[in-house]
């Protein structure tokens, strides 16, 4: 296939993307990726033509953004993996990508919503300078800090209020993040409060409807009495002692074995 029709298809894709027709983007992307592979620019090589590489990068970026809108996390990760060699060459590719920061920030957010904090920090370590300055990257960074510290109300505000979200793609993660903080708050509440009035619980867990709260309470297995929630108290004592005994015996036997080898 000629490179002419390749460029035409790329334009078609860009048009479909700016018209927000993501389904159409997805169908256009598959043959385009095949073309990229045939033109041998799916992975940048030192010999590749720079103009073509820029085009390839833009196509893959549209693919990544499309997968975000279609909520296909695995596909998104795959696109980003394909993009990373392009970003490593960023000095040679001009114009520089406008979406790079945004996509990286989205990846950070994805990792955060999956609670993969180790990977999150690994990724973040490469962005030392951008973490404080770039508005896109700052968003997941600040969210993570609040989550770790326990300021769930700030996370709630940052994810649900439109003005706080840096771009519309970021809002797509709001639901998962709210679910995450709800379950965090729930486990904290179980330990921190002996009991809690229903109205307050609704407020604490950011529910607007009573029915939502009811459903949530049932899921967690909490009991309601006289309009208060009672959290199940765990009785660890008897079980724990049994475990302690076992571990002491195991340790002592271990010491004996080691001593045997020394003497």
């Amino acid at each position: 296939m000629s490179s002419k029709s390749f460029e035409a298809r790329a334009h078609e894709l860009a048009a479909a993307f700016s018209a927000k027709n993501y389904e159409k983007c997805a169908t256009l992307l598959t043959p385009l990726k095949l073309l990229l592979a045939q033109l041998n620019i799916l992975v940048p090589l030192p010999s590749s033509d720079v103009n073509l590489l820029v085009l390839a990068r833009d196509i893959l970026e549209i693919g990544a953004l499309t997968s975000i809108f279609l909520q296909d996390d695995a596909l998104f990760s795959r696109y980003l993996a394909q993009l990373s060699p392009f970003y490593a060459l960023k000095d040679q590719l001009s114009p520089p990508s406008a979406n790079e920061r945004k996509l990286i920030a989205l990846r950070l957010l994805l990792l955060l919503s999956k609670n993969d904090i180790a990977e999150f920090h690994t990724e973040l370590e490469t962005l030392e300078d951008e973490a404080d300055t770039d508005p896109y990257i700052r968003y997941p960074v600040v969210l993570e800090r609040w989550l770790m510290e326990g300021s769930y109300d700030k996370v709630w505000k940052a994810t649900t209020q439109r003005s706080e979200v840096p771009a519309e793609e970021f809002a797509l993660f709001a639901d998962t993040l709210v679910d995450t903080i709800r379950s965090e708050i729930a486990t904290c509440s179980e330990k921190a409060y002996p009991s809690l009035p229903l109205a307050n619980a609704k407020h604490l867990l950011f529910f607007t409807e009573d029915s939502e709260l009811k459903e949530f309470i049932e899921q967690r297995g909490w009991t309601i009495q006289n309009g208060r929630i009672y959290f199940p108290q765990d009785e660890p004592d008897t079980i724990e002692n049994g475990v302690a005994m076992e571990s002491i015996i195991e340790n002592t036997l271990g010491y004996a074995r080691e001593l045997e080898t020394i003497v």
Partner: protein, 499 residues
């Protein structure tokens, strides 16, 4: 700052070299005398290398390498040329030609031998090349060194001898170091990975350990943390490698673990790195950066590092910013913590600890809550909010709840009245805690014992020699006994006449 001074004392750019060169007391001597001494040292080293090659005894090569640090400061191009004469039978040897080309000297000499053979012991060949490598490095001509290294590596790769391993490892170290100086980090990766494969197949422990360490450094310098992590997971690092290399490796592993939030593992690696590194001023740079990282990791784990550490002369100045940080975390003072970070931002960034330090904020808050829970039986959420300089009472409630769940404090919250009530302080001896601490210590002692046993070295085949000696002695005794019995001793007098 004195910290800089300490680092300056080390040979330039040699922060990652943690070998201990032997100290040789130097008196005032004329240049010729020094040159003669250095030359005799080098010649002696040739002898050691020969012994190492013949007896298959790596100890001698190690000994030669230990002397390298002391030697390098006194090297001159003239000495090298004279060493060449001793090493190579002819200047027609490829390596000799190569060296002369890079030294910019044109020397030819003829040996007495009628037909100069071009063979030379590989160990000596590589050692001389290594000397030139070090010499060029100290001259500070990075481009020249780089070009020379490319050729040296080609020579090295033609050899496949196990007695060369220690020397080869050192050579790779300087190779990677010069590439780093020339900012060619990414280009050398495929080569290093290839060498790692070869070294593994040849059971070349020294090179394998060195290359793994170099690769890790390479990855970490370019922030390729996940690749570094993969290397640690998939690569099998040899435990029997030289201690200084192990120390360096452990330091890098500690870094990776810290970035991936595995603080316990990171702490263990760093303790290992610090203990295994030589405790001299030559390794000050390494020890300082390892201690910096360790302080941060201890803080992240919720421990407070020992105060005495910051008083030691080696660390006093280098760790100054870190001490301020520790103080802020220890008393749970959020504004002071933010101030410290702002004040030392550039230092922390240079040390590569900045991102880790940012994670400490939650620990500062936790400590603050803990202090309050210990001092007050009951305190309103509002007061907590004011003292910790939090933005809202609502945040304070969530933060306290999280602290309770994470086991930082033992307390309950009364939501309606808005206060936190501390529970009775638990008697630590009624819990598992002492048992666990006791177990940790015993485990440490046992593993120390086991490691020492493993670390003991026995000279190869030495026992056979000893056995032979014992047998000979027994023979002699037997002979002597029979001689005494037969009364042959008088015959000895007769022997004296012959003298």
């Amino acid at each position: 700052m004195a910290a800089e001074d300490l680092k300056e004392k080390e040979p330039k750019g040699e922060k990652m070299d943690v070998d201990t060169p032997e100290k040789i007391p130097e008196k005032e001597k004329s240049p010729e005398e020094i040159a003669a001494l250095v030359l005799s040292d080098i010649k002696q080293n040739f002898g050691f290398l020969e012994k190492a090659a013949i007896n298959f005894e790596p100890r001698f090569s190690m000994r030669v390498l230990r002397g390298l640090g002391a030697l390098r400061r006194r090297l001159t191009s003239d000495i090298i040329v004279r060493a060449l004469e001793a090493a190579y039978t002819s200047m027609e040897h490829e390596s000799a030609k190569l060296i002369l080309k890079y030294l910019g000297k044109d020397v030819s000499f003829s040996t007495e031998a009628d037909s100069p053979s071009l063979t030379v012991l590989p160990e000596i060949d590589i050692y001389v090349l290594l000397l030139v490598q070090v010499y060029l490095l100290d001259q500070g001509d990075a481009a020249k060194l780089d070009a020379f290294n490319d050729e040296v590596i080609n020579v090295l790769r033609t050899y496949n001898r196990r007695t060369l391993d220690a020397l080869a490892a050192k050579m790779w170290f300087y190779y990677a170091h010069s590439k780093e100086l020339n900012h060619k980090l990414i280009e050398i990766r495929p080569l290093l990975l290839g060498v790692l494969r070869t070294a593994t197949l040849r059971h070349d422990t020294e090179t394998r350990a060195m290359i793994m360490t170099l690769l890790l450094r390479n990855y970490l310098n370019t922030q390729a943390i996940s690749q570094a992590h993969q290397l640690v997971l998939k690569g099998d690092f040899p435990d029997t490698a030289a201690t200084s290399v192990v120390a360096r490796y452990l330091y890098y592993v500690g870094r990776i673990n810290a970035i991936q939030l595995d603080y316990t593992a990171a702490n263990e690696s760093l303790i290992g790195a610090i203990r295994k590194a030589p405790q001299t001023t030559h390794a000050a740079g390494f020890l300082q950066s390892a201690q910096k990282l360790k302080v941060i990791i201890e803080l992240l784990m919720g421990d407070i590092p020992e105060r005495s550490l910051f008083r030691e002369p080696m660390y006093k100045n280098a760790l100054r910013p870190y001490m301020d940080l520790v103080q802020a975390v220890r008393i749970g003072d959020v504004p002071q913590f933010s101030e410290t970070i702002a004040k030392y931002r550039d230092t922390f960034k240079k040390d590569g600890t900045y991102m880790l330090i940012l994670r400490l904020r939650q620990n500062v808050i936790k400590t603050g809550i803990r202090m309050m829970s210990l001092s007050y039986a009951k305190i309103s959420l509002r007061d907590i909010c004011i003292r910790l300089h939090l933005d809202s009472e609502e945040s304070a409630e969530y933060i306290v709840a999280k602290a309770i769940r994470d086991g930082v404090i033992e307390a309950t919250i009364d939501h309606e009245k808005g206060f936190m009530q501390s529970k009775e302080i638990l008697d630590i001896y009624s819990t598992q805690e002492p048992n666990v601490a006791f177990h940790e210590r015993i485990k440490f002692c046992i593993s120390l014992h086991n490691e020492s046993v493993k670390a003991m070295r026995y000279p190869m085949n030495q026992h056979r020699v000893e056995l032979k000696n014992v047998e000979e002695a027994r023979e002699r005794e037997k002979e002597l006994a029979t001689e005494i019995q037969e009364g042959d001793i008088e015959d000895d007098d007769g022997d004296f006449d012959g003298l």
